[in-house]
């Protein structure tokens, strides 16, 4: 029971960490608080579902389509919606509020489109639903794959940001958007790329989620909330923080569901969130990307 809870907690936590990394890029670098983030995740989940059930395309191959599509969508949304907001923002706070409001509207548009297209039913498909035995407990193979994919994406992103010039530029913008132009970094371009990259990660998260969870057109909000909580716990813009906080959240949720009551997982999530906010508003792992 304990090992089983630990393993499913890791799977869940890996997924949370993956989606939270995308949000922390969008908020930490592009300074856009994207409330439609969860809807981007669910859109990708539906995309994976459609590709699997109509084209017979397996979700891992589906990633090759979904992630670039998410990247492109983010790129377009930033250009069309966020650029004017950035241009008119007087300071960081007013951009935050404007972006919250604009993406709040976007949330309803995305959700509406999905409701019209797919209805409000629970959706899932069966892919690699075979039992695998690890440490004496059985786990569905798709969950193991989900964890592996989360590790691959997270690790890849980490290397991209820390080992490449391009990534260093993005981190520079996260640390100090005012000084970045002084060393020749185009902040707007960096913000746009970060936003697009974040959307790509949202798409990856959506595909991974669709492999082992049921979802509906309206479940995006919960993912946004959880991603936000992980981002704040980990410290805005901090990738390692997001990773650790995601794992903690996944483990706590699984343990509460296993040992307390499945109906109280969200309450537990909030309790953590609130205590982190009150105790360490800058996050458990500090604010800056390390």
């Amino acid at each position: 029971m304990l090992v089983a809870a630990l393993l499913s907690g890791l799977v869940l936590g890996g997924t949370y960490a993956l989606v939270a990394m995308g949000l922390t890029l969008q908020y930490g670098i592009a300074r856009i608080m994207n409330l439609a983030y969860g809807e981007m995740i669910i859109s990708a989940a539906f995309l994976a579902y459609v590709m699997f059930s109509t084209l017979g395309l397996n979700p891992v191959a589906g990633l090759l389509i979904a992630v670039p599509a998410g990247f492109a969508l983010g790129y377009v949304i930033y250009g069309a919606m966020m650029t004017p907001l950035v241009a008119r923002a007087r300071d960081k706070a007013s951009l935050e509020i404007d972006s919250i409001l604009a993406t709040f509207g976007l949330l309803f548009v995305f959700q509406g489109v999905m409701l019209v297209t797919f209805g409000a039913n629970f959706t899932s498909y069966s892919y690699l639903n075979d039992p695998v035995t690890i440490f004496g407990t059985t786990l569905a193979a798709n969950r193991v794959l989900a964890l592996i994919l989360a590790v691959v994406f997270g690790g890849g992103l980490y290397l991209l940001l820390t080992r490449t010039l391009w990534g260093t530029a993005l981190r520079a913008v996260a640390v100090n958007p005012g000084a970045a132009p002084l060393v020749g970094i185009d902040v707007n371009r960096a913000a746009r790329l970060a936003f697009a990259l974040g959307s790509g990660l949202a798409a990856a998260g959506g595909v991974v989620i669709s492999m082992y969870q049921t979802f509906t057109a309206t479940s995006g909000v919960v993912f946004t909330m959880k991603a936000l909580i992980v981002v704040i716990m980990g410290g805005v813009g901090n990738l390692i923080g997001a990773l650790s906080a995601g794992l903690i959240l996944g483990l706590v949720e699984t343990f509460v569901a296993t040992y307390v009551d499945p109906g109280l997982t969200l309450a537990a999530t909030y309790a953590i969130f609130l205590s982190v906010l009150l105790w360490r508003p800058a996050g458990l792992f500090g604010r800056l990307m390390r």
Partner: protein
């Protein structure tokens, strides 16, 4: 002076005319009136706190739902006025707890927390109903007529409006303006910022809770997904923003046309409702970021200025 008197007169006249509406309107008219008055109150109460403090609260439906659900739970064993008082008290208690915990956080954390608050309360209520009482839905049988609900909401809307007007003229109104300009100066002037914000948040939350409590009997059947429907927060927010959250009549001017639009949309495009809603909202954020009133005023001033420029001899 005479202008102030005129405003009072117009206000009293409008309230009187609205109070008379149930005698001439049919049942559909009353239903429409209830919805509209509900949203006018919600938007005014929302703007009361969020306008001057710039704390964008997405928790409207949390309090609205608390009001509705309290009435549903206690409707069988309490007198109606007591029912409203209890609902208001619960709303106040929740507002104080949430406010004390979150108001000292930076604005964006407050938005995020309130964004999920309704969801949290919904889940807790669902959990409680399933595990403790064993039923999810509840019926509300109360001897309240639609006309009664209408008049109560009118009274509440009037109260909200008067509170908002009174605050604008009072010490606390000045405190809010100072806080809005510069919190550091505000506290160095002796203003207890946390207390002012908390007081305002509480007043706003109680008003919102009462809207939910008064409207609840219209449903007859309530369950958490109905009472805590996030669209309520969303609509309230758009209405207040459209009109302009920093002005007395702003929320009112936003609530009336948007409510009509949404009524029409949900009747004619039930499936595409939320898409259109989202698009309208985005349009408002982009085109009228500070509300219709500010927009009109600015253009009026610009137009007048250019008018004066053309007649240089007249100036002074």
């Amino acid at each position: 002076m005479s202008r102030a008197l005129l405003s009072v007169f117009v206000f009293a006249l409008v309230v009187a005319v609205l109070a008379y509406v149930p005698f001439i309107a049919g049942s559909y008219g009353i239903t429409l009136g209830i919805g509209m008055l509900g949203y006018v109150t919600l938007a005014t109460a929302w703007a009361l706190f969020s306008g001057p403090t710039r704390y964008v609260s997405l928790a409207t439906v949390a309090f609205f739902g608390i009001g509705a659900y309290t009435v549903a739970v206690f409707s069988e064993n309490m007198a109606y006025p007591l029912l409203l008082a209890v609902a208001g008290a619960i709303g106040l208690a929740v507002a104080l707890v949430v406010g004390l915990a979150t108001l000292r956080l930076a604005g964006v954390y407050f938005v995020i927390f309130t964004f999920g608050l309704a969801e949290l309360i919904r889940q807790l209520v669902t959990w409680y109903e399933v595990n403790v009482t064993g039923t999810l839905g509840r019926y509300i049988f109360l001897p309240v007529t639609p006309e009664g609900i209408y008049w109560q909401l009118l009274a509440l809307a009037t109260t909200a409006f008067l509170i908002s007007w009174g605050i604008g003229r009072s010490r606390i109104g000045l405190a809010l303006k100072v806080i809005g300009d510069d919190e550091v100066v505000a506290s160095h002037c002796g203003i207890d910022i946390a207390r002012v914000k908390l007081a305002l948040f509480a007043v706003s939350a109680v008003l919102i809770t009462l809207v939910g409590a008064i409207q609840a009997p219209r449903w007859t059947y309530v369950e958490p997904t109905i009472a805590f429907n996030p669209t309520v927060s969303f609509l309230t927010l758009i209405m207040a923003l459209l009109g302009g959250a920093n002005r007395l009549t702003g929320p009112l001017l936003g609530a009336v046309p948007l409510f009509m639009l949404f009524e029409w949309l949900s009747a004619n495009f039930p499936n595409h409702y939320s898409i259109i809603l989202g698009l309208v909202f985005i349009a408002i954020v982009f085109v009228l970021p500070r509300g219709v009133l500010a927009f009109v005023e600015e253009n009026w001033r610009r137009w007048r200025k250019s008018g004066v420029k053309n007649l240089p001899a007249v100036a002074e």
